[in-house]
Symmetry: C2
Subunit: 344 residues, 2 copies
Amino acid sequence: MPDTDRSGGAPIALDAMGGDHAPHEIVAGAVEAVRDRGLRIVLVGAPRPLYEALAAHGATGEIPIVRAEEALAMDEGALASLRRPRSSIAVACHLVRRGDASAVVSAGSTAGIVATARLRLRGQQNVLRPAIAVALPTLPHPTLLLDAGANAETKPEMLLQFGHLGVAYAETALGLEQPTVGLLTIGSEPEKGNKVVKRAHELLRAAPGLDFKGNVEGHDLLAGVVDVVVTDGFTGNVALKTMEGAVRYAFGELRSSIEAGRLSRLGALLQRQKMRRLARRLDPEAYGGAVLLGLNGTVVIAHGASRAKGVAAACALAASVAAGSTVARIGERIANSHRLHRLW
Amino acid sequence: MPDTDRSGGAPIALDAMGGDHAPHEIVAGAVEAVRDRGLRIVLVGAPRPLYEALAAHGATGEIPIVRAEEALAMDEGALASLRRPRSSIAVACHLVRRGDASAVVSAGSTAGIVATARLRLRGQQNVLRPAIAVALPTLPHPTLLLDAGANAETKPEMLLQFGHLGVAYAETALGLEQPTVGLLTIGSEPEKGNKVVKRAHELLRAAPGLDFKGNVEGHDLLAGVVDVVVTDGFTGNVALKTMEGAVRYAFGELRSSIEAGRLSRLGALLQRQKMRRLARRLDPEAYGGAVLLGLNGTVVIAHGASRAKGVAAACALAASVAAGSTVARIGERIANSHRLHRLW
């Protein structure tokens, strides 16, 4: 079964060298994931600093270490992954490939993780490109946005497949039945958008097995109108970062507006706790990170600035995705879609 | 001087038939613009309903009406503008072309306005494509984002020109000296983005007369890091709507979070006024609308859902852009850039 994840009960391979606060916060996150969440973790990286960091938590011997002497720097992109076959992220992928780990988690550079994972884990059969899926904090359940940045150039057929990847993920990891799909563009009418999007609209509309609801726009992303929003990695990445910036801006404006007043200072005190709770829900750290879909193995990309809490959340996400057999479901969906396509 | 606006002191031609609340709210906005802001307005549309609406405000004879029997429906796109040479927006453009009006304001469908204005006013010499510029509510002065949706497909040379259009607008309408320019993409390094963006980065970096600060990302849009942000109309439109949706979402979440609590209800009361004031600053109606740059005349696109207040704000924006000679400044910038380009 080349298209399935062969490593159900295995531990999570955590790239201990990737991220702005590696290795200390990564190790702290591993300790939290093991002790508080009951997960099994393998740390991948340079043994000496990892031993020391574990010792600082009194966790020597509690979490195994797999040696990787090299690491990708945060500013190293796709090419570095070819030059460094023994980087911590490459070794982590290798563990998944061998079945010794159930998933990879890294807070390293997104471009480096995507390139390394594509090279080491390979794409699932007939999957044109992997895509990064991000869970947006809508209620009652998250809205998936993909691709959030794995591919800067996209063909219409890839956007169609992103629909299948997202639906498989929504079914397996979020437990949704018959998830709905929307295409991100600049108007609700089918003819709105650029050439790639217009063709993708036709493909999505004609696709059996997808509950395609048509076009969605930027203001729909946090409105929960569909379960899965499909877009190219350029637009998706801009939209995601715009959203983060706008939410931060709105809270910042509100805070300074509140602090500027006299009477309202009392109000601010009463509300501080509420605002903190809300900010947590909107905090990317809290829900763990993005998932790279379409490869022969589960890969979770944690925020580069992740601290222990974010790393532990990313490990929990990876464990639930791996347990949910998302990789297998994607394999089935793409195989069906491919078969139907060849029949036409 | 074919590239300049020939109609300095003339009134503003207001398309009275465009918008979700036309003609009543448009006429109400015209009355507000004339009475409260001292602007000169000409209403363009079907005379009978406009007379009636004016009469309802006791403003019969106060604002002239120019007859246009047809109107573009909100769901009519670019093609309708060709089929309707006597639509209210077409007649409004004609008034500007003849020098009988200083600017066009419409709350009609963006696609219809852009197509009609391109056809009737024509692009300025050597301008490849007009672009929609939107002022984002950053402090101490707005950040311009363009193109916010006039062109779904863009070439690198167009993005370079958008830089010049935006800078000319920032200089003349916002009064900024040597405005800075950024290119919206998915990473700060020059090589981040799709092919069009990477080439545009090179062109912008090499352009004399542009203070190009390099790439910006989605989270920079409301951070005020540059004065002018250049992007294609697809990405710009998605980013703008995403931003609006995210700000609305953040306030909505905060409101329900506040209302859910007991103690915090008191806080909510104390802060209601602050929040209202802030919401007003973020309200697209308050700052009037988007400006279509690169044509032989000033065109302001008001929000389709504009009510009187938004219409009046759009008229005020149009008057200030027309008075600031943005069209002439764009003509100079494009001519210089074109001349230099030919010398190479």
